[in-house]
């Protein structure tokens, strides 16, 4: 494990841990009457996946039943399949070690650990996830046991934090490396928007990963011309991206 990557990741992950803690508190508040304190805390401690937890809770609270709640969670987590496939070539070591890196994936840390050209810094990813874990579990506990003490994250505008962050990384990192990523991003956004009213939650983001298949065309073109992509074109993502 590279310690400098790990510590850089931890530093980059702290702002998102603060937001995650507040979101977790709101999860604790709304989950406790439905699941009880024990199951709510266990879910945050051992599932550690915000959208799946909120999504399955909404289904269960709405009378949707266990199978539908699990199905919603699986669909909301399905984006981790392409994310894990993207991470895989950067991982070394035995099966269990690679699986452990996979378990460390959350959206923000996966994005921040991306070094361009299909490469990831796995130890940065682990570091960027680390602060969010105690924040997520601790925030859930605050929501469960002291729910009336905390503010609604929506009143604070915190539900705009993650989409704004993803937009920022998209604009200042990914889109600067050529025309193809711009086309892919527009296509991904179009797929996401078009499928949202038509499919269960989670499917639009999963389906949007198909936009990356445009890379096959780029590979064809590149066989004829010189390679133009350079990891050095992603300087913003190298250090602390929230600075």
């Amino acid at each position: 494990m590279r310690r400098d990557s790990l510590t850089a990741g931890i530093r980059a992950g702290i702002p998102f841990a603060l937001a995650a803690g507040l979101l977790a508190a709101s999860f604790g508040v709304i989950a406790e009457p439905v699941l009880g304190a024990g199951a709510t805390l266990a879910m945050s401690a051992f599932v550690f996946a915000g959208s799946a937890q909120f999504g399955s809770l909404a289904v269960l609270a709405g009378g949707g039943g266990l199978a539908a709640a699990v199905g919603a969670a699986v669909l909301l987590n399905a984006r981790y399949l392409p994310m894990g496939i993207a991470l895989a070539p950067s991982l070394r070591g035995r099966t269990l070690r690679r699986a452990a890196y996979g378990e460390a994936m959350i959206d923000a840390s996966w994005v921040m650990a991306n070094r361009g050209g299909g490469r990831f810094d796995p130890d940065f990813l682990v570091g960027a996830t680390l602060p969010s874990y105690p924040a997520w579990v601790g925030g859930t506990a605050v929501g469960v046991f002291a729910g009336d003490l905390i503010a609604d994250p929506a009143d604070l505008g915190l539900d705009a934090l993650f989409p704004a962050f993803f937009l920022a990384l998209l604009v200042s990192g990914e889109l600067r490396s050529g025309a193809v990523p711009v086309v892919v991003a527009l296509l991904g956004a179009a797929i996401g928007l078009a499928l949202t009213p038509l499919t269960p939650v989670g499917v639009p983001v999963l389906a949007a990963s198909a936009a990356a298949l445009l890379g096959l065309r780029g590979a064809e073109a590149r066989r004829e011309g010189p390679r133009s992509r350079d990891p050095a074109e992603h300087p913003e993502i190298e250090g602390d991206p929230v600075g």
Binding site: M43, L60, D159
Partner: protein, 103 residues
């Protein structure tokens, strides 16, 4: 009693399997260049989809236009003028909160 613990157990198992699937099956070796080209483009594709679904997604399967759109739009303006990521996020949160407080 049983249902909530069954939900926790199912979520623990399925989430762990989904997160580990790629690293376990494809990890530890080089993939062909064509596959790496596609992988490099997964980030812009997934990021763009996360931006639109988290900005315009409502309860369940519907599109909504609310304060988040103002906030994320403000972040877009900051980024268009080459403002920092931190400033963009701060503007997004502040605008969203302000729009909610007014509306």
């Amino acid at each position: 009693m049983a249902e909530e613990w069954a939900l926790v157990a199912w979520l623990v198992a399925t989430t762990a399997m989904i997160r580990a699937a790629g690293p376990v099956t494809l990890g530890g070796r080089e993939l062909p260049p064509r596959a790496m080209e596609v992988i490099a483009l997964l980030a812009p594709a997934l990021l763009a989809a996360l931006v639109v679904t988290q900005t315009f997604g409502g309860e369940g399967s519907e599109l909504t236009l609310d304060a988040r759109a103002i906030g994320v739009g403000g972040a877009g303006v900051v980024l268009a003028f080459r403002g920092s990521i931190l400033l963009a996020i701060t503007v997004a949160i502040a605008l969203t909160a302000a729009a909610r407080a007014i509306g």
